[in-house]
Subunit: 291 residues, 2 copies
Amino acid sequence: MLLGAIEGGGTKFVCGIGTTDGQIVERISIPTTTPEATLDQAMSFFANKGIAALGIGTFGPIDVNPQSPAYGSVTSTPKPHWSGYRILDHVQRFMDIPVGFDTDVNAAALGESVWGAAKGLRNCLYMTVGTGIGVGAIVEGNLVHGLLHPEMGHIVVKRHLLDSYAGNCPFHGDCLEGMASGPAVEKRWETQAVQLDAAHTAWELESFYIGQALATYILILSPEVIILGGGIMNQAHLFPRIREHVKSHLNRYVQHPVFSTDLETYIVPPALAGNAGLCGALALAKEALIR
Amino acid sequence: MLLGAIEGGGTKFVCGIGTTDGQIVERISIPTTTPEATLDQAMSFFANKGIAALGIGTFGPIDVNPQSPAYGSVTSTPKPHWSGYRILDHVQRFMDIPVGFDTDVNAAALGESVWGAAKGLRNCLYMTVGTGIGVGAIVEGNLVHGLLHPEMGHIVVKRHLLDSYAGNCPFHGDCLEGMASGPAVEKRWETQAVQLDAAHTAWELESFYIGQALATYILILSPEVIILGGGIMNQAHLFPRIREHVKSHLNRYVQHPVFSTDLETYIVPPALAGNAGLCGALALAKEALIR
């Protein structure tokens, strides 16, 4: 049995065909233009592939509440053409199969919990640090939606003492995303993040903010594992530094054996690596099929 | 059918008998001394009452993981005699009925979701602001436990510009509890909280910190309603101020109709009022019975 997966991003939509055990057998990448053009191309890719269900993990904000009249649509976004667009309606004009629909980060969290680093666990976080900062969460076996869906990238952070950068979040200035997203790093240091070598202060600040945010998530959600992905996390030297900052922020308050370790098995890269997003969408398809 | 409930606090244990529809029919209050003496008195109260199940919502930190060898015990606490005490074992020596065991705040959240302000909702928070700050959460219908259990009172907060108080959390100094618990208010202003009139700056700072923390919880958990209890929240004038601070911290980022309102139905006192804790323990008993 084959399943379809769409990883919808702000610059590209990756579409894939996969199996129920998480293997991607075919994929294409479509540049994100208007919703109509982008989704029409995606639908052409899936035509006659015989998929039994489709999963869509997409950038947002989106309406993920099946009881809402706007379920399956993008809500308000600065991205031209996409505000209010009904993605799910578009897809359902082309196919009459179960469709799972969730945020890109919730999808990635689900994928890692089904086939990756959180396999068999009932609580995990998947955080992506790139153009933006997003976090998907599974709590007691369920993807977290709640009133809307989490927007964990925008939490308040305490500033690093050496940091005078104002932050670049249009809503909150110096929230986590405003201080630690890829664009924040690049604007603060006026250079591309990949050009900053591992010894640069940039990474001390980055680890400080991400570590602080993870400590907050740990205090609130008590995840069993935390998976960090996204472009910025390709700087592998960040992992041990972030783990140190998490421990220093928690300051021995949370008493669990894992916090006596160096957190090497607690704060990890995606086991699905570059496939985390697409496999996540595949996991949404699988879930839609079962439901 | 009657159920038993224990609301275990640092200064008193309240024990009650109630019905499956949340009515408390009898109660006593026992001063918290040693665990043996306190629990023996509680067991005497319940003897021959014919309860079908017991719920225990207690101060912590506690081990709430049924798979853990230490399930049902207090973990490490500065409170003399209580570290490592096996509450559940003590109780099960006296009664052979289903026993539910969780944190006091998780119990209160559950009680409000079964009979109170969060009735019928799948996501809610119950926060108590008193001697400490604790938060219980229900996410997609489940109490949040995760790796351990949340310790949301200890999240990082950004300081109020007018506030030079160092904070009184022994672990983190100026975390939320260090800045906004009852003892923090009293040490900062060197007077009893109840003596500070509504116009005092103390309450502006208090609303700022609580509002900021609620904004963080909203971004992470997306609750459908937030219930605020505890001694400090008896200052009813705090509610509208906290709601304003929540809106100002979120700064129109979270797009849901409720955030266009004054949040009067979103951030509320416990519908179960002074019974929130005991009814919460009753709800744990009911859940244990069903399970």
